[in-house]
């Protein structure tokens, strides 16, 4: 596992101290954790810790004959980091994309911060502004500079002034370690750098929750850690995150909970340590057996 050996920016075992307390400080006065230097001192707007932020109930979806999401129930609390794993084709990406309605669902409900997911129009756009999304293929706007990629949303959606948006964007780019590339175009950056910019682009919207759809799957092995490090420090700073990934090292290190999916269903969910050492279901044992022996 390439992700295993990435020593996180955080000291010792970063997962343990992250119970309920210092990281999600609603007042925003707490230490925003390593890696978050340069960010203005306001925290991620994740509601009060522990309160349900993203709730899926009875979600169903088909792709033709394929039942990709079967009766999905999932609750993600504010400040929680949930890692979704499972074999390919298990529906985990679809689940992730359904939360900001890049995929529509057939039945069931999805609520974000207590509000049901709007179906269309301005309300949907407003919701998406609050839900960050990081894609497998980065999807940086190819015709815009790195800086413009990060400022586009704040200026056009949030109505932030240009100067302020730039300052904030530079701080975020600095935080993810690509500030010196700000005037370049996406194609001039490495995959790992592009993905870090994509994370900064999402953060610039001050999202309540961030979705990661296999963020390291398209990266060369040597670039995976630089992205995972940023994600780990983001997790430590109290961001609510739903991460679809194959990086078991990241799951062990940064997740509060691991959700295992197969054939469109959530088969089991547990704390990482418990899941990796004592998987309850046959499917999970089988899956872990296949990937961990390498």
């Amino acid at each position: 596992m390439t992700g295993m050996d990435s020593s996180a920016a955080a000291p010792s075992d970063p997962r343990e101290p992250r119970g309920a307390d210092p990281r999600t400080d609603p007042a925003g006065t707490g230490d925003p954790a390593p890696g978050a230097q340069g960010t203005p001192a306001h925290p991620h707007r994740s509601g009060r810790p522990g309160e349900p932020l993203v709730v899926l109930e009875g979600v169903q979806k088909h792709f033709g004959d394929l039942h990709v999401l079967r009766d999905i129930d999932l609750t993600v609390g504010a400040g929680e980091v949930v890692v979704v794993i499972g074999p390919s084709g298990s529906g985990k990406s679809t689940l992730c994309r359904a939360i900001n309605r890049l995929e529509t669902i057939e039945s069931g409900t999805i609520t974000v911060d207590g509000r049901p997911l709007p179906a269309e129009g301005k309300a949907l756009a407003a919701l998406r502004a609050d839900v960050g999304m990081v894609f497998q293929s980065f999807n940086l706007f190819a015709h815009k500079t790195i800086l413009d990629n990060v400022t586009l949303g704040p200026i056009k959606v949030r109505g932030v002034g240009k100067t302020e948006a730039r300052e904030r964007a530079m701080a975020l780019l600095d935080r993810v370690g690509v500030a010196h590339q700000a005037s370049k175009y996406p194609a001039q950056l490495s995959g790992g750098q592009q993905q870090r910019v994509a994370i900064a682009r999402s953060l610039a919207m001050d999202p309540k929750v961030m979705l990661f759809d296999e963020p390291t799957s398209a990266l060369d092995p040597e670039m995976i850690n630089e992205v995972l490090d940023v994600m780990t420090s983001l997790a430590d700073s109290g961001m609510t995150m739903i991460v679809v990934t194959h990086e078991m090292g990241f799951a062990r290190r940064a997740a509060d909970r691991v959700v295992f999916m197969a054939d469109g269903q959530i088969v089991e969910q547990a704390a990482p340590e418990e899941f990796f050492t004592h998987p309850r279901s046959e499917r999970a044992r089988d899956f872990l057996g296949k990937i961990l022996t390498h």
Partner: protein, 226 residues
């Protein structure tokens, strides 16, 4: 060569070619954009209408469309595009029908050029734009169209070049442009054939080469690196 210029209105003919090309380029850009929007609509029926137009027009000879405007629409159906009482009625009628025929024909190609431009934009670009909360209009304006336009420069340039040369076809309804002049010269002075060829060839090189060079240059310069 002097004889060609001395006895015939070469510049007048080329000026007519340019007038035809400019007006029908504008017309087909407008109509072609509407068609492209139709062809990319989420509504099946609207897409169908756009596709039907493109497939019918693209497979019909321009000569047929041009002949139809005059013999069909004008003579048979009595549709008038110029005031019959005006002293320039005959010339105006031919010119306007010529522009209409060229517009109708090339709009189908403009539509396809624009669509191929949009097709150069990967689906992830629109998804990323949606994900940061841009509305449909903002997504088009800031993310999709700027990239699609760059991808459409070269095919649009090729269409403009073809259109410029295709203006000759409207000689069939008596518009006094280059092909009309060619027939006139050849009927009277067939000995001028080589000079005439050179004049016409150079004329069209002068008209089309800059377009080709410019679109290739800007197509490359503005290309979106992926």
């Amino acid at each position: 060569m002097g004889e060609v210029f001395a006895n015939y209105d070469v510049f007048g003919a080329f000026f007519m070619t340019i007038r035809l090309a400019v007006l029908s380029a504008i017309g087909s850009l407008l109509l072609g954009t509407v068609l492209a929007v139709f062809r990319m609509s989420p509504v099946g029926l609207v897409r169908g209408i756009g596709a039907a137009y493109v497939n019918v027009v693209r497979n019909t000879p321009l000569t047929l469309i041009t002949v139809f405007t005059m013999l069909g629409a004008h003579s048979n159906l009595g549709i008038r595009v110029a005031d019959p009482a005006s002293p320039t009625s005959v010339v105006d009628t031919a010119f306007r029908w010529g522009v209409i025929a060229l517009t109708v024909y090339h709009a189908a190609f403009v539509c396809e050029a624009l669509r191929s431009g949009v097709n150069t934009v990967p689906v992830g670009q629109a998804e990323a734009a949606r994900s940061i909360g841009l509305t449909f209009a903002q997504n088009l304006r800031h993310v999709i169209l700027p990239q699609a336009f760059r991808g459409a420069i070269v095919p649009l340039g090729n269409t403009l070049i073809a259109l410029t040369k295709n203006t000759t076809v409207v000689a069939v309804i008596g518009v006094a442009e280059i092909a009309y002049l060619t027939a006139e010269v050849m009927e009277n002075d067939p000995g001028l054939i080589v000079w005439l060829f050179l004049v016409v060839a150079l004329g069209f090189v002068v008209l089309t080469l800059p377009v080709g060079l410019a679109t290739t240059h800007f197509g490359r310069k503005l290309a979106v690196a992926r």
